[in-house]
């Protein structure tokens, strides 16, 4: 388990009603059901709120759908950053499901938190490559199959 003064936070990002965009909240709910000690689990649709939620945490794991043409749906993409680490590149995660219009993308939320000196020492971003963001659709089979591997990846990250 990550040690630190603050708590460890796991956040699932995404809309529950936009196809594979729901994978963030679905994975977060699975992690919550494990009842891990010292771990707080949240589901958010708006990455801006992430700046507030991660403040004071010792580590944050964010799980979200990513749009990555050419990659295999269900594939996991793991990025690590944190206070003191290099900023994420400008285009990192810009195509996540919530990187929307008047909303902030995930990368923006992380970099805004860094600029405000609120970024936890360790931030792990777990992306699940999505195949559909259709309104009203559920998870695609490939992404549904990636839920347990994503949970395992988060557990492994929490134990490092």
């Amino acid at each position: 388990m990550v040690t630190g003064v603050g708590e460890v936070l796991v956040v699932g990002l995404g809309s529950p009603d936009r196809g594979d965009d729901a994978v963030g909240p679905v994975v977060a709910r699975r992690v919550a059901s494990l009842g891990l000690a010292g771990v707080r689990v949240l589901a958010h649709e708006d990455p801006t709120d992430l700046v507030e939620s991660m403040t004071g945490a010792s580590a944050v794991v964010v799980v979200d759908a990513v749009w990555s043409p050419g990659s295999t749906p269900g594939q996991l993409v793991v990025l690590e950053t944190g206070d003191g680490a290099a900023p994420l590149p400008e285009d990192a995660w810009e195509r996540t499901g919530r990187g929307g219009t008047h909303a902030f993308g995930l990368a923006s939320a992380v970099e805004l938190a860094r600029a405000l000196r609120r970024l936890p020492p360790r931030v792990v971003l777990v992306g699940v490559v999505a195949s559909t963001f259709e309104h009203g659709a559920g998870l695609s089979p490939a992404v549904r199959a990636a839920v347990e591997p994503a949970v395992a990846t988060i557990r492994a990250a929490l134990e490092r």
Binding site: S15, D17, R18, D21, H44, E45, D46, T48, D49, V51, E52, W67, E90, D91, E94, R95, G97, R98, G99, G100, T101, H102, A103, F104, G105, S108, E111, L112, A115, L116, R117, F133, H135, G136
Partner: protein, 435 residues
């Protein structure tokens, strides 16, 4: 992408503007410094929902349509409730209207605080993004996050969640928040109101490009209070009609370049909905505090400069905090959370003022309450022709700018409307061929 025209003209095409709230692209053609074509291409979700709603139960639209937009779910819930209650011949009590108004204040606060300080202000302070701005102006951004958070907290206590509230139903709410719960949010709202007032001098000091929109303005207007959750329709040309007559005046047309329908008012030119229209048509309905805030910021009783919409949103943000506090202070426990809304065959109409303008819903249901027809007219499709007209005016003023600067100015022109398409600069991918 961009490509050259055979006769030496110039095509500017801004690719994907966004993903989730709606997708869009911008396409501008210049010939000899003159704008030939301006097309804002928007791919909006409401069309999908209109088809999706047919055959569903009349109780479902508040939950289903709230999914259309992550930023303004309360607008969709409120307009759909008004429309379905209208179809069923039900009027909700004043207390339920007030609680809808309070929930709606939370949405205005969230949306305006985000747009004003994290998306719009960087344009005027000369930053590419709020992230770059935060390094030099951390206090502005910290304050903005607190102001927005007060809206989230209000949505939490009234709506059950800060995004996509779950407490709204036809006829009212599943559960009314208690006086004690509402009072607990009060200190945060008071502090946020103070911060909004304190931020206004900075916003008023910005250098706003001179531009006056000639278009007709359309907004809701009520017997009392600034239009938020309800009202009848008025326009700057002196028209006034009930929401039930909306479709007699507003016509939606397909245009080839976009799958968003273009709306026209009585067959005329572009019309504008949103903060400038609300303010210009309802200045006298603002609280004395908000009017004083407007005067101190240098605003008159009308405002037709789209860049100054930043200040008007600031006035509306003050009004939203003030109004939320007023409703909380007057609230008493024991109000029934909802009234019954039994189904009957009919057609119903509803409208409310989403943060970015009038959102209209119309439903036809049968005796069993099954939806036969649904129509949703969102603010962005109403503003699309005027956004294009603004771009046409501005691009002609700015043809001397280089590609990067021109692209950024066009984004700003679009951002003035806070439309449901991308405002995120890092999504814009522009190349221009010049000859």
């Amino acid at each position: 992408m961009s490509h050259k025209l055979r006769d030496g003209g110039q095509v500017m095409h801004v690719g994907t503007l966004a993903r989730v709230e709606g997708e869009g692209a911008m396409h501008i053609e210049l010939r000899d410094g003159k704008v030939e074509t301006v097309q804002l291409r928007i791919y909006e979700p409401p069309r999908f929902y209109e088809a999706f709603l047919r055959g569903r139960a009349y109780t479902e639209p508040p939950d289903i349509t709230a999914r259309i937009c992550g930023i303004c779910p309360v607008a969709y819930q409120t307009s759909s409730c008004w429309a379905m209650e209208d179809a069923c011949g039900v009027s909700v009590p004043e207390a339920i209207r007030l609680m809808r108004r309070l929930l709606y204040c939370g949405e205005w606060i969230e949306s305006h605080a985000l747009h004003m300080f994290l998306l719009h202000t960087p344009d005027f302070l000369g930053y590419e993004s709020a992230i770059a701005m935060a390094a030099d102006h951390p206090a502005v951004v910290e304050s903005a996050l607190r102001m927005k958070k007060a809206g989230n907290d209000l949505m939490d206590v009234v709506g059950g969640r800060s995004v996509h509230p779950i407490n709204v139903r036809l006829g009212g709410f599943y559960r009314m928040p208690t006086v004690a719960e509402l009072r607990a949010v009060r200190p945060k709202l008071e502090r946020a109101l103070d911060e909004a007032l304190a931020a206004m001098p900075l916003l008023a000091s910005f250098d706003f490009p001179e531009m006056e929109q000639p278009y007709e303005y359309l907004a809701l207007r009520s017997a009392a209070g600034y239009p938020i959750e309800s009202g009848d329709v008025v326009t700057s040309a002196g028209k006034a009609f009930r929401v039930q007559e909306f479709t007699q005046h507003i016509e939606e047309q397909h245009v080839e370049h976009s799958n968003a329908l273009h709306a026209t008012l009585d067959g005329g030119g572009p019309y504008v909905v949103g903060p400038l229209a609300r303010y210009t048509l309802n200045y006298d309905r603002l609280s004395p505090l908000a009017q004083e805030t407007a005067r101190a910021a240098g605003l008159g009783e009308t405002c037709r400069n789209p860049f100054r919409s930043l200040l008007v949103r600031g006035v509306e943000l003050v009004e939203a905090y003030h109004e939320a506090l007023r409703i909380i202070d007057g609230w008493v426990d024991g109000v029934p959370p909802s009234v019954p809304v039994p189904a009957r065959a009919g057609e119903g109409f509803g409208a409310s003022e989403a943060p970015r303008g009038v959102l209209f819903h119309r439903y036809v249901i049968d005796d069993a309450g099954i939806i036969q027809d649904a129509q949703i007219v969102p603010p962005t499709s109403q503003n699309q022709p005027s956004i294009e007209a603004d771009l046409r005016t501005m691009v002609e003023m700015w043809t001397e700018l280089d590609d990067h600067a021109l692209s950024h100015r066009c984004e700003q022109a679009i951002r003035n409307y806070d439309p449901c398409i991308s405002c995120a600069t890092h999504f814009l991918d522009l190349t221009v061929d010049r000859r």
